[in-house]
Amino acid sequence: MTQNTNSSSHPTASLHEGLSPLEERVGRWRVFVGVGLALVTIVYAWAVVQAPVDSSQGIIQKILYVHPPLAYGAYLGFVITAIGGFLYLWRGREDFDRLAVSGAEVGVLFCTLMLITGPIWARGTWGRWWSWDPRLTVTLLLWFVYLAYLLLRSFAGPGPRTARFAAVYSMVGLVLIPLNYYVIEIFDNRSMHPDNLEKGSLGDGMGWPFLMGNLALGFAFVYLLLLRWDVEARRLFERRREAEQDVDQ
């Protein structure tokens, strides 16, 4: 008996440890992203410590350097999920579907952290953890939509049918991102949540740490995405290999 006797039954069995050429190539960038992350994180920590203390909110305002970057990471994760889903439907390649799952998981992690850091900030400034204002409500809805995506994939198991449905679902869910971003303006600034940041809206000396926060969490996002993509490929490969061994026995 030889290994991979049923290799023709699935396209990834003959690939190196289940990784597609694209996944192998992109995986090599992870080292450079990791080095960049380490360097940027040091500068980020220094920038946050050095950032001026806000005259009205006090030191708690420094949550600004982590909360919006987490939101952008969450948006990016869900956009990558939809792009991966679209490419899967278009090209039929499993590695795009694995990218979609990875984007959703890292996006949900960032969205969860945004939903934790936001209430911490709110408690310190508004005096309460949560308010059912438009921005917070739509953010919670966004989190539920992509959490449901992950649950759907987890319960339904791997397969082309699940992947196709998940791809369509992720593209529909994307509608919530512009709604989430512009909901404050849609509700005519009646939201408790501050307005979206614009150029020049930050105080003196706050732009630099904000930029570093976005860079550091951007690097962290890309690093985790690439790592999760790699693990997803290996996980499916091992599952299939075990299934083949069970059949052979």
Binding site: Q3, I59, I60, L113, L227, V231, R234, F237, E238
Partner: protein, 43 residues
């Protein structure tokens, strides 16, 4: 100050733990493949 520390600690802790869990899982799969490739064919 405690709210600020909590926000950064939760974020850093969650990202590091998630990354470590992924690295561990990846290491397990790689070790499995290595052990499979070192195993003598049985036929």
């Amino acid at each position: 100050m405690s709210y600020l520390i909590a926000a950064y600690a939760v974020t850093l802790g969650a990202l590091v733990l998630y990354g470590a869990a992924l690295m561990r899982e990846r290491g397990r799969y790689r070790a499995q493949r290595k052990s499979d490739s070192n195993r003598r064919p049985t036929n």
